[in-house]
Every structure is written in structure tokens, then in C-alpha cells.
Amino acid sequence: MKELVIISGKGGTGKTSIAASFAMLAKDMVMADCDVDAADLHLLLGPVIQEEGEFVGGKVAEIRQDFCMRCGQCVSVCRFDAITDGYSFDVNPLLCEGCSVCSYFCPYNAIIMNHEISGNWFISNTRYGPMVHAKLGIAAENSGKMVSLVREKAKLIAEEKGFDLLIVDGAPGIGCPVIASITGASHVLVVTEPTLSGIHDLKRVIELSEHFRIPLSICINKYDIHEENTEEIVSFADTKGIDVAGKIPYDTDFVMSQVEAKSIVEYSDGAASKEIRSLWEKIIGTI
């Protein structure tokens, strides 16, 4: 099975709009929205939920005040400053990393570790095929684990249905959810833009993909807002031996299609739409 992951380093370059367009252009694929922190793909694909479940990420400490003898051992072993010594000893769940060290070392067994429900996952039908997505709880942790869960479920569905393509919409950045999205994938498509931040972030995301030895292609969105920067990206890609598989013009269809809850290729046959179609042909040929 082939797994194409769309990432960008910098946020807001058009990952999700392109992912949704690929969903329409591809045949027999499963979509996975792995930007679990700020998932948006559902806004374009209108998923109808078939199955859902809770995601238990990590643990959070709770101090049973009846048992607490105020010895302060928990405060001294906690490296995350998650326990405050006020009127009583209390855990700040936002700072607690769920490491259980306080619970292990409390001489009075006053601290219990509770499993924390960090979010929900969904298996849905869309007009283009099955989609697995998730919603991370507010201020929750473990987005990397949740990404792995979404990818696993999407793979299972693809296997069940005999589909051999998985399209993953990734998160911005190069940290834990992105690493969890690309590890073991067949191909990465980096959507960038010809801006200083776009170029800077592109280079970091290329380094990351190279670190994990995943083949990649680049697509430059809004390439015409700064042709010189676009040239810089193209020549940088050349020196690295990376294919620039598409150059999409600045086009407000990106937003108009969002407002209509459609993918761009479904919404219009404009300049951006045409380029995304040819990008897709190239990418599917490559992987």
C-alpha cells in the first residue's frame, strides 16, 4: 500500500485544500486527517461519521487529599512543576506530564494516576471515499500518539477494502505530530510558498524527511507572488535532486471553494484547479 503524506513546515500554505483535491482525483483511496490539533479537512469533505471512539492518551496525577500527609515528596520529585503547594498540594493538569513518578514515590499512596481522554477518533464516509479523522481535546497532549492511531485505522480500512492508496493531511511544524505522520510513509509532498518563512520552513521539513529517508516532492503554492523566491526554491530543489512537481498560481479559489465546502478541483476549473490536476498526475506517477 502506498501512503502519501502532505506536509508543509509552515502553516497555511494550502496543504488541506490540496489534500481534499487529491481525494477527489484519486480512485480507491482512504483519507486520513493527521492534523489532529487543528483539523480542517472535514470542512471540505463533509464526512458522515460511521464509527467513533475515545482516545486515551496519557495519564494525569490526582492527589487524594484524605491520604495526603503534606510531606512534600511529590513536589520534590516532579520535574514539571506540576504540583503546587498552597492550601493543599494540588496537581496542575496542564503541566502534568503523566510520568507517574509522584505516584510511585508518595509514601502514603495518596496519588493516583487517572487515564486521560485526550480526544475522539472518527471513521467516516465522504463523497470521495472513507476518511479517518480525530479531534484532540482542548489543551490535550499526545498528538503524536493520536496521529499514529489515525494512520493505523486508515490503513486497516484500506486493507479491508482492497485500496492501495492512503492520503494523509499532515500538521504544520516538524515536531511530534509531523514525525508520527511521516514515519514509514512512501512519499512526502511538501506544499510551500515563495515567502521567506515558506523557504526557511521548507528547508527544515526537507531535512526532517531526509532524516527519516522518505522520498519527497515539492509543490510551490502562490508561486507568482514572488517569482524570485520561487526561482530560489526551484534551484534549491535542483541542488538537492528534489522534484518540483507543481507551481500553483495565487488564486482566491482556495478560499472560495472553502466557503462552498468543496475541494478546489470540484469548485472550479480555474488556473489553480488545473495546476492541481496536473500536480496529481505527476505525484501519482511518481509514487
Binding site: L43, C99, E141, L196, R204
Partner: protein, 288 residues
Amino acid sequence: MILSVASGKGGTGKTTIAVALASYMSEIQEREIHILDCDVEEPNANLFLKTSISVKENVYVPIPEVNMDRCNGCGKCDQLCEYSAIVMVKKKPLVFPDMCHSCGGCMLICPVEAISEVQKEIGIVEEGYIENLRYVGGRTNISQAISPPLIKAVRKHVVSGDLTVIDAPPGTSCPVIESVIGSDYVLLVTEPTPFGLNDLKLAVAMINEIGLPGGVLINKDGLGNNDVENYCRENGISIVGRIPHDRVIAEHYAAGDIVTYLLDNYRDVFDSILDHADLSHLAYGGKQ
């Protein structure tokens, strides 16, 4: 006073606004103003500030190292570790540094003192100045998954009592919390599109959860639809300013001279932000 600039969605203009705001404050104030780039995975603030970096500090986290001569193979470290960062393989503990959260539990629980800690570099903190504006930013090493310890290292550079602008990473999970926690005001930058609205709702829920006051800046105003505006009005969230959707702005952004352009043309927006953040004595060039 810490003023954080955040957003659920990436690419809404956080960094641009944070840099322009800090530059504006440093222009109208003689004392030192600080800008902290806490988007340590993709730090961009200095691309616009262009300070020459004067200090680099390597940031390390402790990870366990096992002295196999002492280890008795009891496996207590593996049992305690919540992150599978130390795992018993054939009765020997194996350390996976990328999984480690540096809680120190394995070292504490080891009955034969076979575990000590070694330092693992996770990134750097850099610092630079333009006149009275001080820039501090973090940069994770490639393949470093866990960024909060580096964000913490950046946040240590907050000078209590001084004015500090924090450029937060996108999203709503741990790195964002670590960046904005303890702020006096959070400016949420959004765009009037369905993605912008969806992610703004998440960001609003996040700052409510932490209990921080904040307001919304609508960037690329005129694009998309009115749903962001309606959402803010219906939920009593103040819209502190707007910057219009304009291809010219996008071009200035691409070229890297966006900050000058914004401060030449949209000074009133930054005055309004200061007003809302309870810094009205600074607004309007400090003349009010």
C-alpha cells in the same frame, strides 16, 4: 507584562503581527522590549527582524544512561516509564532517547543505582538586538519530537516587569500551552474563512481553559465570509483590529518587508491591540 500572539490555524499572520507589534512598541518606548519566538519547530520571527544573532545557548535535556555492570535486570525502570523510553529487552534495559520525557523516574527507582543521566541536546536558543528590541528565539534540532523543554528555555528569558511579545506556534496542544501560559493577554490572529473560524474556535476554547484574557485580530479581512465576525459577536469576543485582504500585502510578506509596510499603513491596528491589552498608555505613540 506578556502579550502572546497565537492562532489555531497556521499561516494566519501570527509572526508578522508579533514582530510588527514588538517593533512598534520598541519605537514608542525607550526601554527594552522583548520578542520571544516560541515557534521553535519553525522559528520565523528573526527572518523579519533580521537581528544579527549574538548569543547562542545549547539546550539539553537529561536522559538516562544505564551502567550495565551495576544493572541487575530487575526491570523496575521499564515498569515505571510511561513513555516506553526505557524497555527491557532480554533482561537488559534499552533506552530510546527520542521517547524520553526526562522525568527522572527510572533513575530514582533503580534499586542498585545503575542509572545516571546524560545530557541530550535538543536545540538552541538564540538572541539578538535591534536598538532597544531584544529578540530571543528557540530552534529545535531536526527530528527532535518534543519541543516544550526548549520552549521553556526560551520562556526563561522573560524579564519580569518588562514588556514581552511572544510568537506562539500554531495549534492548540502542548507546545502552544507551554508558550502562552502565564500571559497577560493573548491576541488570536485569524482569517475570515471556514478553516480560520474552525481553528479560532479551538484557540478560544484553549485560552478559556487556561483562563487567559484575549481578543481577535482578523487578518485578510474581506476574504471569505462573515462567519468569524458573527462568531465573535455572538460570543462576546472582542475584535481588536483588522488588516484587509490585499495581494500587495502578500507580496510585501513574500519579500520580507511586511513589518515596515504594516507600520506605515496600519498603525491604528497596533494602537488598538495595545488598547485592548490594557497597554493604552503606550497606544497612539504614548501620547494619550
